[in-house]
């Protein structure tokens, strides 16, 4: 079946430094889309950015991600982490089945 892998459970970075959250996937579907959801403490998950176009960079709120079908990846990056970026981040795969497969999540902790 489909799967999304987020290898890091916790990523800790110092404010102002770059950060990268990894996401890889396996799927047999041809029509797919990818999402990064962010969940701040005591809030509901919300979409941070999404993409369905191979090799096209998508940006939102200072974060960016590029879908690379050749390596089955959709890593999330930011050039300068902020304290307010501390949250739980989920990578997710959507297909035309109406189901969305989520990764196990990566907690980002930004330290001053």
């Amino acid at each position: 079946g489909d799967s999304v892998t987020q290898t890091e459970g916790l990523v800790t970075v110092t404010e102002g430094l770059p950060v990268k959250l990894n996401c890889t996937y396996q799927t047999t579907y041809l029509t797919i889309a990818f999402f990064w959801y962010v969940q701040y403490l005591n809030e509901a998950p919300q979409v941070l950015l999404k993409s369905s176009t191979d090799n096209k960079r998508t940006e939102h709120q200072g974060f960016h991600a590029t879908l690379h079908k050749s390596s089955s990846s959709f890593h999330l990056q930011k050039s300068s982490a902020q304290l307010s970026d501390s949250a739980l981040y989920y990578c997710a795969l959507g297909s035309n089945t109406n189901k969305v497969v989520f990764g196990t999540g990566t907690r980002l902790q930004v330290l001053p």
Binding site: Q6, G9, Y29, T31, I32, A33, F35, E43, A44, P45, Q46, V47, K50, S52, Y90, G94, S95, N96, N98, K99, V100, V101, F102, G103, T104, G105
Partner: protein, 113 residues
């Protein structure tokens, strides 16, 4: 815009008890979802529904029932609560399709004594 409401916010139950969680959305979305959120395990799909009266099992459906009697509402029943169980149940809705993002409710936190 719209909103998803989940009731109750906190649910405390006894072992073996049947417990019902409710979700309402006013986005007019066709598709609704129930997820269970456990630390380190991500969001696991319990049930989803692509239209009124439709039910589709997710990967974690055993031990749960669901009901979609109206387009705007989606209920989840824990058929027999497990002792010491603690989890957050999230309801979501969306337009469906591969590129459709999901909108989440604030969650119901379940504790079983």
């Amino acid at each position: 815009g719209g909103i998803i409401t989940q009731t109750p916010k906190f649910l405390i139950g006894q072992e073996g008890q049947k417990l019902t969680l409710k979700c309402q959305q006013n986005f007019n979305h066709d598709t609704m979802y129930w997820y269970r959120q456990d630390s380190g395990k991500g969001l696991r799909l319990i049930y989803y529904s692509i239209t009124e009266n439709d039910l589709q099992k997710g990967d974690l459906s055993e031990g749960y029932d669901a009901s979609r009697e109206k387009k705007s509402s989606f209920s989840l029943t824990v058929t027999s609560a497990q002792k010491n169980e603690m989890a957050v149940f999230l309801c979501a809705s969306g337009t469906g399709g591969s590129y459709a993002e999901q909108f989440f409710g604030p969650g119901t936190r379940l504790t079983v004594l």
